[in-house]
Symmetry: C2
Subunit: 233 residues, 2 copies
Amino acid sequence: MTTQPTKNRSSLWAEENVFRDLPPAVARELEAVAITNSYPSGAVLFAEAQTTRGIFVVLRGRVKLSVCASDGRTLILRIAQAGEVLGVAAAVSGREYEATAEIQEPSEIAFMRQSDVLRLMRLHGEFALWVTQQLSQNYSSTCREIRNLMLSDSASEKLARLLVGWLDQNPESKHPGQMKLALTHEEIGQMIGTSRETVTRIFAGFKKQHLIQVNGSTLVIPNRVALESLITA
Amino acid sequence: MTTQPTKNRSSLWAEENVFRDLPPAVARELEAVAITNSYPSGAVLFAEAQTTRGIFVVLRGRVKLSVCASDGRTLILRIAQAGEVLGVAAAVSGREYEATAEIQEPSEIAFMRQSDVLRLMRLHGEFALWVTQQLSQNYSSTCREIRNLMLSDSASEKLARLLVGWLDQNPESKHPGQMKLALTHEEIGQMIGTSRETVTRIFAGFKKQHLIQVNGSTLVIPNRVALESLITA
DNA sequence: AGACATCGGTGATTGAGATCACACAGCAGT
DNA sequence: ACTGCTGTGTGATCTCAATCACCGATGTCT
Protein backbone atom coordinates (compact mmCIF):
# COMPACT_ATOMS: atom_id res chain seq x y z
CA MET A 1 0.00 0.00 0.00
CA THR A 2 3.01 2.29 -0.51
CA THR A 3 2.16 5.56 -2.22
CA GLN A 4 3.86 6.19 -5.52
CA PRO A 5 5.65 9.48 -6.29
CA THR A 6 3.58 11.90 -8.35
CA LYS A 7 5.84 11.61 -11.35
CA ASN A 8 5.16 7.90 -11.52
CA ARG A 9 1.43 8.46 -11.31
CA SER A 10 1.07 10.87 -14.17
CA SER A 11 3.23 8.67 -16.35
CA LEU A 12 0.79 5.85 -15.73
CA TRP A 13 -2.10 7.85 -17.16
CA ALA A 14 -0.08 8.54 -20.27
CA GLU A 15 1.31 5.02 -20.45
CA GLU A 16 -2.09 3.41 -20.40
CA ASN A 17 -3.50 6.06 -22.70
CA VAL A 18 -6.67 5.99 -20.68
CA PHE A 19 -8.06 9.25 -22.00
CA ARG A 20 -6.65 8.95 -25.50
CA ASP A 21 -9.93 9.97 -27.13
CA LEU A 22 -10.46 13.09 -25.04
CA PRO A 23 -9.33 16.67 -25.67
CA PRO A 24 -6.14 17.30 -23.62
CA ALA A 25 -7.80 20.07 -21.63
CA VAL A 26 -10.54 17.74 -20.42
CA ALA A 27 -8.06 14.97 -19.69
CA ARG A 28 -6.01 17.29 -17.49
CA GLU A 29 -9.13 18.34 -15.61
CA LEU A 30 -9.95 14.69 -14.98
CA GLU A 31 -6.48 13.81 -13.78
CA ALA A 32 -6.72 16.73 -11.38
CA VAL A 33 -9.77 15.34 -9.55
CA ALA A 34 -8.59 11.72 -9.65
CA ILE A 35 -6.91 10.09 -6.66
CA THR A 36 -4.47 7.30 -7.51
CA ASN A 37 -3.59 4.53 -5.09
CA SER A 38 -1.80 1.20 -4.97
CA TYR A 39 -3.67 -1.82 -3.68
CA PRO A 40 -2.47 -5.27 -2.59
CA SER A 41 -4.06 -8.54 -3.66
CA GLY A 42 -7.28 -9.23 -1.84
CA ALA A 43 -8.18 -5.59 -1.25
CA VAL A 44 -11.82 -4.78 -1.96
CA LEU A 45 -12.56 -1.62 -3.95
CA PHE A 46 -16.26 -1.86 -3.38
CA ALA A 47 -18.75 -4.51 -2.38
CA GLU A 48 -22.12 -5.55 -3.76
CA ALA A 49 -25.02 -3.47 -2.42
CA GLN A 50 -22.75 -0.75 -1.03
CA THR A 51 -23.95 2.77 -1.73
CA THR A 52 -22.02 4.28 -4.58
CA ARG A 53 -19.05 6.55 -3.96
CA GLY A 54 -17.55 6.98 -7.41
CA ILE A 55 -15.80 5.24 -10.26
CA PHE A 56 -12.49 3.41 -10.36
CA VAL A 57 -10.06 3.34 -13.29
CA VAL A 58 -7.68 0.38 -13.46
CA LEU A 59 -4.25 1.75 -14.42
CA ARG A 60 -2.31 -1.42 -13.76
CA GLY A 61 -3.17 -4.91 -12.51
CA ARG A 62 -6.31 -7.03 -12.55
CA VAL A 63 -9.57 -6.78 -10.63
CA LYS A 64 -12.12 -9.55 -10.07
CA LEU A 65 -15.78 -8.58 -10.42
CA SER A 66 -18.27 -10.93 -8.83
CA VAL A 67 -21.75 -11.25 -7.42
CA CYS A 68 -22.63 -13.62 -4.63
CA ALA A 69 -25.65 -15.61 -3.57
CA SER A 70 -27.21 -15.76 -0.15
CA ASP A 71 -25.80 -19.24 0.39
CA GLY A 72 -22.27 -17.98 -0.15
CA ARG A 73 -21.78 -19.28 -3.66
CA THR A 74 -20.10 -16.83 -5.98
CA LEU A 75 -20.29 -16.00 -9.66
CA ILE A 76 -17.40 -14.14 -11.26
CA LEU A 77 -18.65 -11.73 -13.90
CA ARG A 78 -15.29 -10.86 -15.37
CA ILE A 79 -11.68 -9.96 -14.68
CA ALA A 80 -11.06 -6.30 -15.41
CA GLN A 81 -7.70 -5.38 -16.94
CA ALA A 82 -5.74 -2.14 -17.16
CA GLY A 83 -7.67 0.59 -18.91
CA GLU A 84 -11.08 -0.54 -17.73
CA VAL A 85 -13.44 1.54 -15.63
CA LEU A 86 -15.47 0.08 -12.76
CA GLY A 87 -18.59 1.20 -10.97
CA VAL A 88 -19.86 3.42 -13.76
CA ALA A 89 -23.42 2.13 -13.75
CA ALA A 90 -23.76 2.62 -10.01
CA ALA A 91 -22.19 6.08 -10.02
CA VAL A 92 -24.28 7.41 -12.89
CA SER A 93 -27.61 6.08 -11.73
CA GLY A 94 -26.91 6.72 -8.05
CA ARG A 95 -27.77 3.14 -7.26
CA GLU A 96 -25.80 0.62 -5.23
CA TYR A 97 -22.87 -1.23 -6.75
CA GLU A 98 -24.18 -4.38 -8.44
CA ALA A 99 -21.00 -6.37 -7.93
CA THR A 100 -17.97 -6.75 -5.71
CA ALA A 101 -14.57 -5.61 -6.98
CA GLU A 102 -11.62 -7.41 -5.47
CA ILE A 103 -7.98 -6.84 -6.37
CA GLN A 104 -6.43 -9.93 -7.97
CA GLU A 105 -2.81 -8.83 -8.20
CA PRO A 106 -1.05 -5.69 -6.91
CA SER A 107 -2.70 -2.85 -8.83
CA GLU A 108 -2.77 0.88 -9.38
CA ILE A 109 -6.28 2.27 -9.26
CA ALA A 110 -7.50 5.83 -9.79
CA PHE A 111 -10.67 6.96 -8.04
CA MET A 112 -13.07 9.76 -8.98
CA ARG A 113 -15.89 10.88 -6.72
CA GLN A 114 -19.43 10.54 -8.00
CA SER A 115 -20.08 14.27 -7.66
CA ASP A 116 -17.01 15.10 -9.76
CA VAL A 117 -17.99 12.57 -12.39
CA LEU A 118 -21.53 13.89 -12.75
CA ARG A 119 -20.39 17.53 -12.74
CA LEU A 120 -17.77 16.94 -15.42
CA MET A 121 -20.15 14.86 -17.51
CA ARG A 122 -22.67 17.71 -17.60
CA LEU A 123 -19.88 20.15 -18.41
CA HIS A 124 -18.09 18.18 -21.12
CA GLY A 125 -20.20 16.15 -23.53
CA GLU A 126 -16.99 14.52 -24.72
CA PHE A 127 -16.31 13.12 -21.29
CA ALA A 128 -19.90 11.99 -20.88
CA LEU A 129 -19.63 10.18 -24.18
CA TRP A 130 -16.40 8.54 -23.05
CA VAL A 131 -18.03 7.33 -19.84
CA THR A 132 -20.91 5.91 -21.81
CA GLN A 133 -18.55 4.08 -24.11
CA GLN A 134 -16.80 2.48 -21.16
CA LEU A 135 -20.12 1.44 -19.71
CA SER A 136 -21.30 0.03 -23.00
CA GLN A 137 -18.16 -2.08 -23.24
CA ASN A 138 -18.85 -3.50 -19.80
CA TYR A 139 -22.41 -4.12 -20.88
CA SER A 140 -21.35 -5.98 -24.01
CA SER A 141 -18.92 -8.19 -22.18
CA THR A 142 -21.58 -8.98 -19.61
CA CYS A 143 -23.98 -9.97 -22.37
CA ARG A 144 -21.34 -12.23 -23.86
CA GLU A 145 -20.84 -13.75 -20.42
CA ILE A 146 -24.53 -14.57 -20.23
CA ARG A 147 -24.49 -16.18 -23.63
CA ASN A 148 -21.57 -18.34 -22.64
CA LEU A 149 -23.21 -19.32 -19.41
CA MET A 150 -26.73 -20.04 -20.49
CA LEU A 151 -26.63 -21.08 -24.10
CA SER A 152 -24.60 -24.22 -23.56
CA ASP A 153 -25.81 -26.89 -21.22
CA SER A 154 -22.66 -28.98 -21.09
CA ALA A 155 -20.00 -27.71 -18.75
CA SER A 156 -17.24 -28.65 -21.18
CA GLU A 157 -18.73 -26.33 -23.76
CA LYS A 158 -18.73 -23.49 -21.27
CA LEU A 159 -15.11 -24.12 -20.40
CA ALA A 160 -14.15 -24.31 -24.06
CA ARG A 161 -15.89 -20.99 -24.64
CA LEU A 162 -14.03 -19.45 -21.72
CA LEU A 163 -10.66 -20.63 -23.00
CA VAL A 164 -11.31 -19.41 -26.53
CA GLY A 165 -12.39 -16.08 -25.11
CA TRP A 166 -9.09 -15.85 -23.25
CA LEU A 167 -7.20 -16.54 -26.44
CA ASP A 168 -8.94 -13.61 -28.08
CA GLN A 169 -8.19 -11.27 -25.21
CA ASN A 170 -4.52 -12.12 -25.00
CA PRO A 171 -2.13 -10.43 -27.38
CA GLU A 172 -0.86 -12.87 -30.00
CA SER A 173 2.61 -12.79 -28.48
CA LYS A 174 5.66 -14.92 -29.33
CA HIS A 175 4.01 -18.29 -29.21
CA PRO A 176 0.31 -18.24 -30.03
CA GLY A 177 -2.10 -20.19 -27.88
CA GLN A 178 0.01 -19.81 -24.79
CA MET A 179 -1.02 -17.99 -21.64
CA LYS A 180 -0.51 -17.73 -17.91
CA LEU A 181 -3.26 -19.40 -15.94
CA ALA A 182 -3.90 -16.87 -13.19
CA LEU A 183 -7.04 -18.47 -11.78
CA THR A 184 -7.58 -21.50 -9.59
CA HIS A 185 -9.95 -24.26 -10.64
CA GLU A 186 -12.34 -22.98 -8.02
CA GLU A 187 -12.39 -19.53 -9.61
CA ILE A 188 -12.80 -20.95 -13.09
CA GLY A 189 -15.76 -22.87 -11.76
CA GLN A 190 -17.20 -19.62 -10.45
CA MET A 191 -16.79 -18.07 -13.88
CA ILE A 192 -18.71 -20.76 -15.73
CA GLY A 193 -21.11 -21.70 -12.96
CA THR A 194 -19.88 -25.20 -12.14
CA SER A 195 -18.24 -26.90 -9.21
CA ARG A 196 -14.49 -27.05 -8.69
CA GLU A 197 -14.43 -30.81 -9.22
CA THR A 198 -16.03 -30.67 -12.65
CA VAL A 199 -13.48 -28.10 -13.76
CA THR A 200 -10.72 -30.50 -12.74
CA ARG A 201 -12.40 -33.39 -14.52
CA ILE A 202 -13.03 -31.46 -17.72
CA PHE A 203 -9.44 -30.21 -17.74
CA ALA A 204 -8.30 -33.80 -17.40
CA GLY A 205 -10.52 -34.77 -20.29
CA PHE A 206 -9.17 -31.96 -22.47
CA LYS A 207 -5.62 -33.03 -21.71
CA LYS A 208 -6.44 -36.60 -22.68
CA GLN A 209 -7.79 -35.36 -25.99
CA HIS A 210 -4.68 -33.20 -26.47
CA LEU A 211 -6.82 -30.07 -26.63
CA ILE A 212 -4.69 -28.41 -23.98
CA GLN A 213 -1.38 -28.85 -22.20
CA VAL A 214 -0.50 -27.55 -18.76
CA ASN A 215 3.08 -26.85 -17.67
CA GLY A 216 3.06 -25.40 -14.19
CA SER A 217 0.96 -22.26 -14.49
CA THR A 218 1.30 -22.05 -18.27
CA LEU A 219 -1.59 -23.17 -20.40
CA VAL A 220 -0.94 -24.14 -24.01
CA ILE A 221 -3.66 -24.55 -26.59
CA PRO A 222 -1.99 -26.20 -29.55
CA ASN A 223 -5.10 -26.54 -31.65
CA ARG A 224 -7.58 -23.74 -31.26
CA VAL A 225 -9.89 -25.06 -33.96
CA ALA A 226 -10.32 -28.38 -32.21
CA LEU A 227 -11.35 -26.56 -29.06
CA GLU A 228 -13.81 -24.44 -31.01
CA SER A 229 -15.39 -27.54 -32.46
CA LEU A 230 -16.67 -28.36 -28.98
CA ILE A 231 -18.69 -25.17 -29.05
CA THR A 232 -22.04 -25.28 -30.84
CA ALA A 233 -22.00 -29.00 -30.09
CA MET B 1 -48.51 -0.34 -39.31
CA THR B 2 -50.76 2.74 -39.72
CA THR B 3 -48.94 6.02 -39.21
CA GLN B 4 -50.22 8.15 -36.38
CA PRO B 5 -51.04 11.84 -36.90
CA THR B 6 -48.29 14.18 -35.72
CA LYS B 7 -50.41 15.56 -32.90
CA ASN B 8 -50.77 12.11 -31.42
CA ARG B 9 -47.02 11.51 -31.63
CA SER B 10 -45.92 14.56 -29.72
CA SER B 11 -48.51 13.86 -27.06
CA LEU B 12 -46.93 10.45 -26.59
CA TRP B 13 -43.57 11.99 -25.77
CA ALA B 14 -45.21 14.17 -23.17
CA GLU B 15 -47.47 11.41 -21.92
CA GLU B 16 -44.62 9.06 -21.26
CA ASN B 17 -42.48 11.85 -19.89
CA VAL B 18 -39.50 10.29 -21.59
CA PHE B 19 -37.26 13.33 -21.36
CA ARG B 20 -38.54 14.60 -18.04
CA ASP B 21 -35.05 15.21 -16.66
CA LEU B 22 -33.80 17.21 -19.64
CA PRO B 23 -33.94 20.96 -20.30
CA PRO B 24 -36.94 21.65 -22.61
CA ALA B 25 -34.70 23.07 -25.33
CA VAL B 26 -32.71 19.83 -25.55
CA ALA B 27 -35.86 17.72 -25.42
CA ARG B 28 -37.32 19.65 -28.37
CA GLU B 29 -34.13 19.12 -30.34
CA LEU B 30 -34.31 15.39 -29.69
CA GLU B 31 -37.95 15.09 -30.68
CA ALA B 32 -37.04 16.87 -33.92
CA VAL B 33 -34.56 14.20 -35.02
CA ALA B 34 -36.62 11.26 -33.77
CA ILE B 35 -38.78 9.22 -36.12
CA THR B 36 -41.83 7.63 -34.52
CA ASN B 37 -43.50 4.54 -35.93
CA SER B 38 -46.11 1.95 -35.03
CA TYR B 39 -45.14 -1.71 -35.12
CA PRO B 40 -47.26 -4.88 -35.07
CA SER B 41 -46.53 -7.91 -32.87
CA GLY B 42 -43.67 -9.97 -34.16
CA ALA B 43 -41.87 -7.12 -35.90
CA VAL B 44 -38.13 -7.09 -35.31
CA LEU B 45 -36.52 -3.75 -34.46
CA PHE B 46 -33.03 -5.12 -34.73
CA ALA B 47 -31.34 -8.51 -34.64
CA GLU B 48 -28.34 -9.86 -32.82
CA ALA B 49 -25.05 -9.17 -34.63
CA GLN B 50 -26.58 -6.60 -36.96
CA THR B 51 -24.49 -3.49 -37.44
CA THR B 52 -25.84 -0.68 -35.35
CA ARG B 53 -28.11 1.94 -36.86
CA GLY B 54 -29.29 3.87 -33.84
CA ILE B 55 -31.34 3.73 -30.66
CA PHE B 56 -35.01 2.98 -30.11
CA VAL B 57 -37.24 4.54 -27.47
CA VAL B 58 -40.30 2.53 -26.44
CA LEU B 59 -43.22 4.98 -26.19
CA ARG B 60 -45.96 2.40 -25.87
CA GLY B 61 -46.09 -1.40 -25.82
CA ARG B 62 -43.62 -4.13 -24.90
CA VAL B 63 -40.48 -5.39 -26.61
CA LYS B 64 -38.78 -8.75 -26.07
CA LEU B 65 -34.98 -8.69 -25.87
CA SER B 66 -33.27 -12.01 -26.45
CA VAL B 67 -30.04 -13.68 -27.48
CA CYS B 68 -29.96 -17.00 -29.26
CA ALA B 69 -27.61 -19.95 -29.44
CA SER B 70 -26.33 -21.65 -32.53
CA ASP B 71 -28.63 -24.62 -31.92
CA GLY B 72 -31.68 -22.37 -32.00
CA ARG B 73 -32.30 -22.23 -28.29
CA THR B 74 -33.17 -18.78 -27.02
CA LEU B 75 -32.61 -16.83 -23.83
CA ILE B 76 -34.85 -13.86 -23.11
CA LEU B 77 -32.91 -11.11 -21.37
CA ARG B 78 -35.87 -8.95 -20.47
CA ILE B 79 -39.13 -7.46 -21.62
CA ALA B 80 -38.72 -3.73 -22.20
CA GLN B 81 -41.66 -1.52 -21.24
CA ALA B 82 -42.70 2.01 -22.23
CA GLY B 83 -40.03 4.57 -21.39
CA GLU B 84 -37.09 2.26 -21.94
CA VAL B 85 -34.37 2.82 -24.49
CA LEU B 86 -32.90 0.01 -26.59
CA GLY B 87 -29.68 -0.40 -28.50
CA VAL B 88 -27.76 2.23 -26.55
CA ALA B 89 -24.67 0.14 -25.96
CA ALA B 90 -24.35 -0.78 -29.62
CA ALA B 91 -24.96 2.75 -30.85
CA VAL B 92 -22.50 4.39 -28.50
CA SER B 93 -19.67 1.93 -28.98
CA GLY B 94 -20.33 1.46 -32.68
CA ARG B 95 -20.47 -2.28 -32.18
CA GLU B 96 -23.12 -4.73 -33.32
CA TYR B 97 -26.37 -5.15 -31.43
CA GLU B 98 -25.86 -7.75 -28.70
CA ALA B 99 -29.46 -8.90 -28.67
CA THR B 100 -32.56 -9.20 -30.79
CA ALA B 101 -35.50 -6.85 -30.16
CA GLU B 102 -38.88 -8.23 -31.14
CA ILE B 103 -42.21 -6.46 -30.67
CA GLN B 104 -44.45 -8.34 -28.24
CA GLU B 105 -47.64 -6.30 -28.59
CA PRO B 106 -48.54 -3.44 -30.94
CA SER B 107 -46.14 -0.65 -30.00
CA GLU B 108 -45.05 2.89 -30.73
CA ILE B 109 -41.32 3.19 -31.10
CA ALA B 110 -39.19 6.27 -31.73
CA PHE B 111 -35.93 5.88 -33.60
CA MET B 112 -32.84 8.11 -33.51
CA ARG B 113 -29.93 7.63 -35.86
CA GLN B 114 -26.54 6.83 -34.38
CA SER B 115 -24.97 9.92 -35.91
CA ASP B 116 -27.60 12.18 -34.38
CA VAL B 117 -27.22 10.53 -31.02
CA LEU B 118 -23.46 10.93 -30.93
CA ARG B 119 -23.59 14.51 -32.21
CA LEU B 120 -26.16 15.56 -29.63
CA MET B 121 -24.31 13.78 -26.84
CA ARG B 122 -21.15 15.74 -27.59
CA LEU B 123 -23.17 18.92 -27.80
CA HIS B 124 -25.28 18.53 -24.68
CA GLY B 125 -23.67 16.96 -21.62
CA GLU B 126 -27.14 16.74 -20.12
CA PHE B 127 -28.32 14.48 -22.91
CA ALA B 128 -25.17 12.37 -22.72
CA LEU B 129 -25.78 11.92 -19.02
CA TRP B 130 -29.35 10.91 -19.69
CA VAL B 131 -28.25 8.31 -22.22
CA THR B 132 -25.75 6.93 -19.75
CA GLN B 133 -28.41 6.68 -17.08
CA GLN B 134 -30.65 4.69 -19.41
CA LEU B 135 -27.77 2.38 -20.25
CA SER B 136 -26.85 1.92 -16.63
CA GLN B 137 -30.42 0.91 -15.85
CA ASN B 138 -30.28 -1.72 -18.57
CA TYR B 139 -26.96 -2.85 -17.16
CA SER B 140 -28.33 -3.19 -13.65
CA SER B 141 -31.34 -5.15 -14.75
CA THR B 142 -29.10 -7.44 -16.76
CA CYS B 143 -26.94 -8.03 -13.71
CA ARG B 144 -30.00 -8.87 -11.69
CA GLU B 145 -31.04 -11.28 -14.43
CA ILE B 146 -27.71 -13.05 -14.15
CA ARG B 147 -28.03 -13.33 -10.41
CA ASN B 148 -31.47 -14.85 -10.73
CA LEU B 149 -30.29 -17.27 -13.36
CA MET B 150 -27.05 -18.47 -11.95
CA LEU B 151 -27.25 -18.15 -8.22
CA SER B 152 -30.08 -20.61 -7.75
CA ASP B 153 -29.71 -24.16 -8.96
CA SER B 154 -33.31 -25.26 -8.57
CA ALA B 155 -35.61 -24.24 -11.38
CA SER B 156 -38.45 -23.54 -8.93
CA GLU B 157 -36.32 -20.95 -7.21
CA LYS B 158 -35.67 -19.23 -10.51
CA LEU B 159 -39.35 -19.18 -11.32
CA ALA B 160 -40.22 -17.86 -7.88
CA ARG B 161 -37.67 -15.09 -8.34
CA LEU B 162 -39.14 -14.22 -11.72
CA LEU B 163 -42.67 -13.99 -10.34
CA VAL B 164 -41.63 -11.87 -7.39
CA GLY B 165 -39.75 -9.61 -9.79
CA TRP B 166 -42.94 -9.18 -11.81
CA LEU B 167 -44.85 -8.25 -8.69
CA ASP B 168 -42.37 -5.48 -8.01
CA GLN B 169 -42.58 -4.15 -11.56
CA ASN B 170 -46.35 -4.04 -11.69
CA PRO B 171 -48.15 -1.09 -10.21
CA GLU B 172 -49.91 -2.08 -7.01
CA SER B 173 -53.30 -1.62 -8.65
CA LYS B 174 -56.75 -2.52 -7.32
CA HIS B 175 -56.06 -6.02 -6.21
CA PRO B 176 -52.46 -6.66 -5.22
CA GLY B 177 -50.71 -9.76 -6.41
CA GLN B 178 -52.73 -9.93 -9.60
CA MET B 179 -51.35 -9.63 -13.10
CA LYS B 180 -51.87 -10.51 -16.72
CA LEU B 181 -49.74 -13.41 -17.85
CA ALA B 182 -48.53 -12.20 -21.23
CA LEU B 183 -45.97 -14.94 -21.81
CA THR B 184 -46.32 -18.58 -22.80
CA HIS B 185 -44.72 -21.32 -20.73
CA GLU B 186 -42.17 -21.66 -23.50
CA GLU B 187 -41.16 -18.00 -23.16
CA ILE B 188 -41.02 -18.22 -19.40
CA GLY B 189 -38.70 -21.16 -19.82
CA GLN B 190 -36.51 -19.04 -22.06
CA MET B 191 -36.38 -16.37 -19.40
CA ILE B 192 -35.18 -18.68 -16.64
CA GLY B 193 -33.20 -21.08 -18.80
CA THR B 194 -35.31 -24.21 -18.44
CA SER B 195 -37.45 -26.32 -20.73
CA ARG B 196 -41.11 -25.67 -21.39
CA GLU B 197 -42.13 -28.88 -19.61
CA THR B 198 -40.41 -27.96 -16.38
CA VAL B 199 -42.20 -24.64 -16.32
CA THR B 200 -45.52 -26.44 -16.65
CA ARG B 201 -44.59 -28.88 -13.90
CA ILE B 202 -43.39 -26.20 -11.51
CA PHE B 203 -46.51 -24.14 -12.12
CA ALA B 204 -48.57 -27.22 -11.31
CA GLY B 205 -46.58 -27.68 -8.13
CA PHE B 206 -47.09 -24.05 -7.12
CA LYS B 207 -50.83 -24.39 -7.70
CA LYS B 208 -50.93 -27.49 -5.52
CA GLN B 209 -49.20 -25.59 -2.73
CA HIS B 210 -51.63 -22.67 -3.20
CA LEU B 211 -48.75 -20.34 -3.97
CA ILE B 212 -50.46 -19.19 -7.15
CA GLN B 213 -53.81 -19.35 -8.92
CA VAL B 214 -54.44 -19.12 -12.62
CA ASN B 215 -57.74 -17.96 -14.11
CA GLY B 216 -57.45 -17.81 -17.86
CA SER B 217 -54.61 -15.39 -18.49
CA THR B 218 -54.76 -13.84 -15.04
CA LEU B 219 -52.18 -14.88 -12.48
CA VAL B 220 -52.96 -14.37 -8.81
CA ILE B 221 -50.36 -14.56 -6.09
CA PRO B 222 -52.32 -14.59 -2.83
CA ASN B 223 -49.31 -14.99 -0.58
CA ARG B 224 -46.22 -13.20 -1.71
CA VAL B 225 -44.27 -14.08 1.41
CA ALA B 226 -44.75 -17.81 0.90
CA LEU B 227 -43.36 -17.47 -2.60
CA GLU B 228 -40.38 -15.52 -1.32
CA SER B 229 -39.62 -18.23 1.19
CA LEU B 230 -38.69 -20.48 -1.74
CA ILE B 231 -35.92 -18.07 -2.61
CA THR B 232 -32.61 -18.40 -0.76
CA ALA B 233 -33.61 -22.03 -0.21
C1' DA C 1 11.78 -29.44 10.76
C1' DG C 2 6.81 -29.84 11.68
C1' DA C 3 2.19 -27.79 11.34
C1' DC C 4 -1.24 -25.76 8.70
C1' DA C 5 -3.52 -24.06 4.69
C1' DT C 6 -4.67 -24.07 -0.05
C1' DC C 7 -4.99 -26.42 -4.41
C1' DG C 8 -5.50 -30.31 -7.43
C1' DG C 9 -7.08 -35.07 -8.46
C1' DT C 10 -10.37 -39.09 -8.19
C1' DG C 11 -14.17 -42.44 -6.96
C1' DA C 12 -19.09 -43.40 -5.65
C1' DT C 13 -23.60 -41.91 -5.21
C1' DT C 14 -27.68 -39.28 -6.32
C1' DG C 15 -31.03 -36.21 -7.91
C1' DA C 16 -32.88 -32.60 -10.80
C1' DG C 17 -34.15 -31.65 -15.03
C1' DA C 18 -33.68 -32.42 -20.28
C1' DT C 19 -35.71 -35.07 -23.62
C1' DC C 20 -39.00 -37.94 -26.04
C1' DA C 21 -43.54 -39.25 -26.67
C1' DC C 22 -48.12 -38.65 -26.38
C1' DA C 23 -52.97 -36.58 -25.35
C1' DC C 24 -55.96 -32.85 -25.15
C1' DA C 25 -57.89 -28.14 -25.05
C1' DG C 26 -58.93 -23.82 -27.37
C1' DC C 27 -59.28 -21.16 -31.47
C1' DA C 28 -58.60 -19.64 -36.40
C1' DG C 29 -59.97 -20.32 -40.86
C1' DT C 30 -62.27 -22.91 -44.97
C1' DA D 1 -68.48 -29.78 -39.16
C1' DC D 2 -63.48 -30.80 -40.03
C1' DT D 3 -58.82 -29.41 -40.23
C1' DG D 4 -54.68 -27.08 -38.62
C1' DC D 5 -52.12 -24.79 -35.26
C1' DT D 6 -50.51 -23.28 -30.90
C1' DG D 7 -50.26 -23.85 -26.11
C1' DT D 8 -50.69 -26.90 -22.12
C1' DG D 9 -50.47 -31.23 -19.18
C1' DT D 10 -48.11 -35.73 -17.88
C1' DG D 11 -45.55 -40.17 -17.86
C1' DA D 12 -41.10 -42.75 -18.66
C1' DT D 13 -36.32 -42.66 -19.28
C1' DC D 14 -31.66 -41.19 -19.06
C1' DT D 15 -27.70 -38.14 -18.63
C1' DC D 16 -24.84 -34.89 -16.65
C1' DA D 17 -22.92 -32.68 -13.05
C1' DA D 18 -23.47 -31.60 -7.83
C1' DT D 19 -22.11 -33.48 -3.69
C1' DC D 20 -19.56 -36.07 -0.25
C1' DA D 21 -15.40 -38.12 1.09
C1' DC D 22 -10.75 -38.75 0.90
C1' DC D 23 -5.73 -38.25 -0.52
C1' DG D 24 -1.53 -36.28 -2.29
C1' DA D 25 1.17 -32.24 -3.62
C1' DT D 26 2.87 -27.76 -2.76
C1' DG D 27 3.52 -23.82 -0.28
C1' DT D 28 4.49 -20.86 3.81
C1' DC D 29 4.49 -19.68 8.29
C1' DT D 30 6.77 -20.08 13.23
